[in-house]
Each structure stands twice: as C-alpha cells, then as structure tokens.
C-alpha cells in the first residue's frame, strides 16, 4: 500500500505541486496501478525475458537526426536553437 506521504514525496521529486484535495484520489490511483502490477506478478514466467537472449547490439553507424525546427516545435518555448526550460537551479 502506498501512503499519502509517499505520494507527496514522489510529487516533490517530480516537481509537481499537489493540492490537499488531490492527495486522496492520487493515492487511490497509485494503489490501483500497483495492484495491477501485482496481478502481472502472478503470471507464470514465459519464454521472453529469462530466455537467455543477450548482446542485442547494433553496429556503430550514423543515421540521420531530426531537423532542428521539428525538434524545437515539440517544445513549449525555444530560444536560439535551444529548448527553453523553467528555472531549475
């Protein structure tokens, strides 16, 4: 069970402000999601993850990058080719 304190701590780490009235619903959602994973935990292990597949690698070859304007269009704000982020220091 995730407590309201833990939800507050996660919110703090993620720099998200949570109002007092939002705390109970968020805590309920967290627990619902984790309960779902608990269901997945009961699924018997299959052939996938533990099948010993290792060293999936690609060759060191350069492929085209995105055009700058396409990248900047993804951001809320840009300046001189940079993506502008709120104060983080």
């Amino acid at each position: 069970m995730v407590s309201e304190e833990e939800v507050l701590r996660i919110a703090e780490l993620a720099d998200i402000g949570i109002g007092k009235e939002e705390l109970p619903p968020f805590t309920r959602d967290f627990n619902a999601i984790l309960d779902y994973f608990a269901v997945l935990d009961r699924v018997p292990p299959g052939e996938g993850w533990k099948a010993g597949i290792a060293n999936v690698l690609r060759e060191d070859r350069v492929t085209p990058s995105l055009p700058q304007e396409e990248v900047l269009a993804l951001a809320e704000a840009a300046e001189d080719g940079y993506i502008r982020a709120p104060r983080v220091m």
Binding site: L13, A14, V56, R61, T63, P64, L72, L74, D80, R87
Partner: protein, 501 residues
C-alpha cells in the same frame, strides 16, 4: 616498483567516512579521496541511437532523434563499438569483466534528460576490481579501480540570469546519449596531486587505447569523494577539467580543515565546484540514493561479453612505451615519462628520433618544445613535424646554436598560432639574422682572425691557453655574437693545430 596500498579490492576495508580513526600521517590528518571519472567514448554514433557524436561545432538540438529525445514509443538500441571500447578499458585497467551486465534506469526529473531517467548500470556493472599504477613520490603507487560501467550522457544546460538569480535554462540535447564510461576508484588517493596524476594516467591510457579524446571540450567530468579521516565524506560534483580537479580538492581540504579547526563537524553533503571562482558550494540535493528508484532497463537485453575479452588485443600502453623508449633510444626515464605521458607527444618524438641523435630529440621535444607549448597554451598537434625535424637536423649537424634554435622554434610556433605558413628554419634564421647557416661561415672568419692576430696565435702555440679566449672574443665580435662560443673554441682549436696531425 609498485607499492600496493591496502588489500585486494574484494577484501578492502572502506576507509571513507565515519571510520572513527583519527589517524595522522606526517603530522597532518590523512586526506582520503576517491574519484568517479566520466569520459566520453569516441564512437561515431550515440550509445542507444544512430545520431552522430560529432556535435561540438554544430547548432544546438541538431544531433537528436526520437530515441535520445526520449519520445514516446522510441526504443534504445545498444552500440556494439561502445561495448567493445568499454571492454578495452576494462582490460587495460586490469578489471574482471562480469559474466552478465545489465543497464538500469536511474529515475530523476531534471531537464537534462527528457525521459525522466538516465540509462546507466547500477548493481550489475560491466567490470569490477582493477587497478592503475600512477607516478608516486618515489615509487609508483597502485590505485584500485572499483568498477567500470557504461551510461548515457545527459543533455547540456545553459543557465540564464545570474547564479544567485537564475531566470530560466536553455537545453541542448546534442550531448544527450553520447556514450560515457564511468570509472570509479577506491578511496586510495591521499592528495589533490595524486588525484591529478590518476586522471592524467587514465586520460593517457584511454587515449593510447584510441577510445577517448581528452582535448575535446567537456569530454571528461569528475565527481570526487573527499574526507579527512574520521570525518564525514563530501561529494564534490561538476569538475570538468584536469586543473579543476586539483583546485576543487585543494579548496575542499582547506574548507574541511577549517570546519574541524573551529570544532564543528563536517557535514555529509554534495557540493558543486564553481570553476570560475575556484570554490565549492553546498548543493542541497533533494534526492537520496533510494529516491532514484533504480530498476532494470526493460528495453535492453543484458550483456554477456566476458568471453570477448580474450579476443581483445591491447595496444602498447604508456608503461610499456616508457620502457621501450629508454631501451630503444637510450633516453632518461624522466624524459620517457614526460614523452609517454601524452600519446601525441610520444608519437611526435618517435617521428623525431631518427634525426640521428635521439637524446637530443628527447631534450628538445620533452623540455624545450613542451615549455614553449605550455607558455603558448598550444597543442603538440599544431606543430608541423617536418619543420621541427629540419631544426633538429640542423642542431645535430651543429648548423645552428642552441640559443638560435630556440629563437627559431619560437618564431615557428608563433607562425603556427597566427595560422601563417611555417617557414623553414633556414629561412627564419636568414630573415632574423640568427647567424650561422653553415659552420663554414665561421671557419672563414676564424681563419681571418688567425691571419690577423699573429701574436695571440704564437702565444697560444707557446702554451698560453688564455690566448684562445682572446681569439674567441675576436671572432665573436666579427660574427656580432651570432656564433656559439663553445663551437668557436672547437673550430679555433682545430684550425690552430699544426698541419698534418
């Protein structure tokens, strides 16, 4: 000789914070330093995508794709060469490569990573338990390597506004996803000087392996753990230059000693090094280790590459090259250390050594040229080897005096710096009246003087040695001081010898 300190990595006693031992070495409290060194591997493409790593001269956000931007639905694909490079480093640093290594997600929210996590290695690193021998005071010193792992470089932030009043940040993701190798040492270092030596040793080794270019701006970043024995440990982050490491650590030792002298306790904390001011400032990190919520990166398969190691051939490493230089060229161990301490310098010397006098080449490359380069903050790579070889040739044939050769060298380097075409030493000497383009020039003057100063010649032949000084003086006068007195004395002696002997 190597002096091992401590024990095998596996059984090592952790000498960091809180050991409670207020040991004193040499009258002062022991300083304990361990480093985490991050180096960019010079692959062609990034660690998990095909974006080019050659970003330094390009505008921001032009070497990015959905993967290194962490866009939804994108998947990482591991770069084989980055793994091979990391294994080279592991082998060169005498590490044990893990049977199985795996990547993990380190979760944190900061704009330098768009995904909300960094892909790194956590509890299953690529290699562990190695060492690097560094130059110590007297004998060599063995510094143990705790672990080596691969991770992705985050993006680069530019903070706008003043440090006290930041307004906003600008982000460039070109660096995001560049392969980094992190090398963690045991707390075996005892002074900022040793830390600098370890860094130099790592840099040289990685450059000899051809996996790293230390001249690239920002290609190396260091976090240092430092404590005074018996006190808490402080982590200094954000050190991004070789000189910075020594400066940051020296500052931090002084600060910690000051805290202890005032009877206070050193707090366990993370501090930032502010390079411009040469100080460390407290950086209240909101995260504790467990807040990173590490877990296995589900989008990547583990690495089982231990068996690759036998197939890897290591190139000649610095220590081996030092030994070869002293054996093959007969140069001093000190010169060999200087020359081999930088790959390009060692290679430059090897281009010069066939000039006929390797000892002379060693002195001129390791001492004279290095000094002049340091003075100009110039890289050895900018020096045209052909021109320097011509100058060495002239020195070997005694066509130029040491003093004039230094002048020629200075002018050559200044021409390099100005981006001008570098003239030949002979041209520079002629243009600047640096005398003596051939020994013959002086032989003529010497003969003139002998013909004109009969008295002095007779005195000399009668066994009055001081007469030679007079003759040297006369020749010097006529060459306007351009000749080397030692060389003149030799020519004079030869000319004054009775014929036929």
């Amino acid at each position: 000789m190597t002096v091992p300190i401590g024990m095998e990595a596996g059984s090592a006693v952790r000498e960091t914070a809180g050991s409670g031992l207020a040991a004193v070495e040499g009258g002062r409290e022991t300083v304990i330093i361990g480093l985490e060194v991050h180096c960019q591997l010079n692959t062609e493409s990034k660690l998990f995508c095909g974006c080019s790593t050659d970003y330094r001269s390009d505008p921001p956000n032009t070497h990015v794709c959905p993967t290194c931007l962490g866009l939804p639905g994108s998947l990482p694909a591991m770069n084989r060469r980055a793994v091979e490079y990391a294994l080279l480093v592991a082998k060169a640093l005498n590490c044990r490569v893990a049977d199985e290594a795996e990547f993990a997600r380190k979760n944190y929210f900061y704009p330098d990573l768009t995904k909300g996590f960094q892909i790194t290695m956590y509890n299953r690193p690529l290699a562990e338990g190695g060492y690097l021998d560094i130059e110590g005071d007297g004998a060599e010193k063995r510094v143990r390597i705790t672990r080596i792992h691969l991770e992705e470089d985050p993006g680069r932030l530019v903070h706008m506004g003043t440090p006290d009043r930041p307004r906003y940040s600008l982000v460039d993701y070109n660096r995001s996803g560049i392969p980094l190798i992190e090398i963690v040492t045991e707390p075996d270092l005892r002074s900022p000087k040793e830390a600098r030596r370890l860094l130099n040793g790592l840099r040289t080794t990685l450059e000899y392996l051809g996996v790293f270019d230390g001249d690239q701006e920002g290609s190396l970043r260091v976090d240092a753990n430092i404590s005074i024995r018996g006190s808490e440990r402080v982590e200094v982050k954000n050190i991004s230059s070789y000189r910075g490491v020594e400066k940051a650590l020296t500052y931090e030792i002084t600060r910690q000693r000051g805290v202890l002298r005032r009877g206070q306790k050193v707090e366990r904390e993370t501090r930032h090094f502010v390079e411009a001011r040469g100080v460390t400032t407290s950086a209240r990190s909101k995260e504790q280790e467990h807040d990173y919520r590490y877990f296995t990166e589900p989008d990547l398969r583990p690495l089982q590459v231990r068996h690759w190691v036998e197939g890897i051939a290591l190139p000649e490493l610095p220590a081996a090259r030092r030994e070869r230089f002293t054996a093959q060229y007969g140069i001093s161990p000190e010169h060999a250390r200087t020359l081999c301490g930088e790959l390009r310098l060692a290679e430059f010397f090897e281009q010069m050594a066939p000039c006929g006098n390797p000892l002379l080449a060693a002195t001129w490359v390791a001492d004279t040229l290095q000094g002049e380069l340091n003075y100009r903050e110039m890289e050895i790579g900018k020096v045209p080897p052909a021109r320097f070889r011509e100058l060495l040739g002239m020195l070997c044939r005694k066509e130029v005096t040491d003093k004039a050769a230094v002048e020629v060298l200075r002018r050559m380097l200044d021409q390099c710096l100005k981006g001008e075409e570098v003239q030949s030493p002979a041209q520079i000497m002629e243009k600047n009246m640096l005398g003596k383009t051939a020994g013959d020039t002086f032989t003529g003057i010497v003969r003139e003087v002998i013909a004109e100063c009969g008295d002095a010649v007779r005195d000399y032949r009668a066994g009055r040695g001081e007469a030679l000084n007079f003759l040297v003086g006369q020749v010097m006068k006529r060459t306007r001081g351009r000749a080397d007195p030692k060389e003149l004395t030799r020519i004079l002696r030869e000319e004054l010898e009775p014929q036929g002997t």
